[in-house]
Symmetry: C2
Subunit: 163 residues, 2 copies
């Protein structure tokens, strides 16, 4: 019955519980590790993916960072201006552009990764490994559910320009 | 060994896994339910807490929404200008101001709560109840860990103005 009342207990509402954890970690990591280098969380994500998966097309980067294409394009331009990344012709196709880290970008990521790992360690302190497995499984499933929801919503939306 | 390499697999890094779930839910809820009313996620949180816990001081609101005091003050002012909330003298102390929802604010929250519940239901689709219990326990613990970390960092920081 409680569940159908007109009240919503934020302290037991999962979207809130998830969001506040994501925000408190990102805020502290940003303030303590990224701000001094002029980086945002999104820029850091791009650099981490480039460091671990190597140079790649922006469409693949967008997929791996959950950043939309137009935002990503702006972020990459900023990284290029800062000398942390470069845009190069793709090896597979002359018309495609790939993004890669510069030596300076690689050096910065190498300094930031141990700090990022420490943040994860601090955040999960006291949680047994079994719980962490369940946590990851839940988070991946929730992300997949929300992606499917978006696709379903787009498919059912009336096409304004059609007919 | 993998864990100590200079690479970071974002797809297995908990701060990222948490953050992208928080963001995808907030973005969709914001676009589909809040934008038409001129509300942000933070404003919605304030309204949800006021609806479920009743009129209260800004300091208590800040605590229950995880929004810092100065940001909260601006958000409340916007809600007041929109006719959704009012600032009233506290019953307990004449010098204190409490925030409360207006009739219009209550009516709007009553329309949004079922939509918010549907988002939570969509997000957790397919997850067994036992996993959800572990998920909530992990998220509360992680938030607590990060809060403690912040307090510890503040305590160990050299006091620049002292001495």
């Amino acid at each position: 019955m409680k569940h159908h009342s007109l009240k919503l207990d934020l302290g037991d509402y999962l979207p809130y519980l998830v969001n506040r954890v994501g925000t408190i970690i990102a805020d502290q990591f940003s303030a303590e590790a990224l701000a001094e280098h002029g980086l945002s969380i999104a820029m850091w994500r791009v650099m981490a993916v480039l460091a671990s998966s190597g140079g790649q097309r922006q469409i693949d980067l967008a997929d791996r960072t959950s950043i939309d294409a137009s935002t990503l394009s702006r972020l990459v331009s900023r990284l290029v201006r800062m000398g942390l990344a470069t845009r190069v012709r793709s090896a597979s196709s002359n018309r495609e552009v790939a993004v890669t880290l510069s030596a300076k970008g690689n050096a910065l990521v190498a300094r930031l990764i141990p700090i990022a790992r420490q943040f994860e360690t601090d955040a999960i302190g006291g949680l047994p490994p079994g719980d962490l497995m369940v946590l990851k499984r839940c988070l991946r499933r929730m992300y997949g559910n929300m992606q499917k929801r978006l696709v379903a919503a787009a498919a059912s939306r009336p096409k304004r320009l059609a007919g």
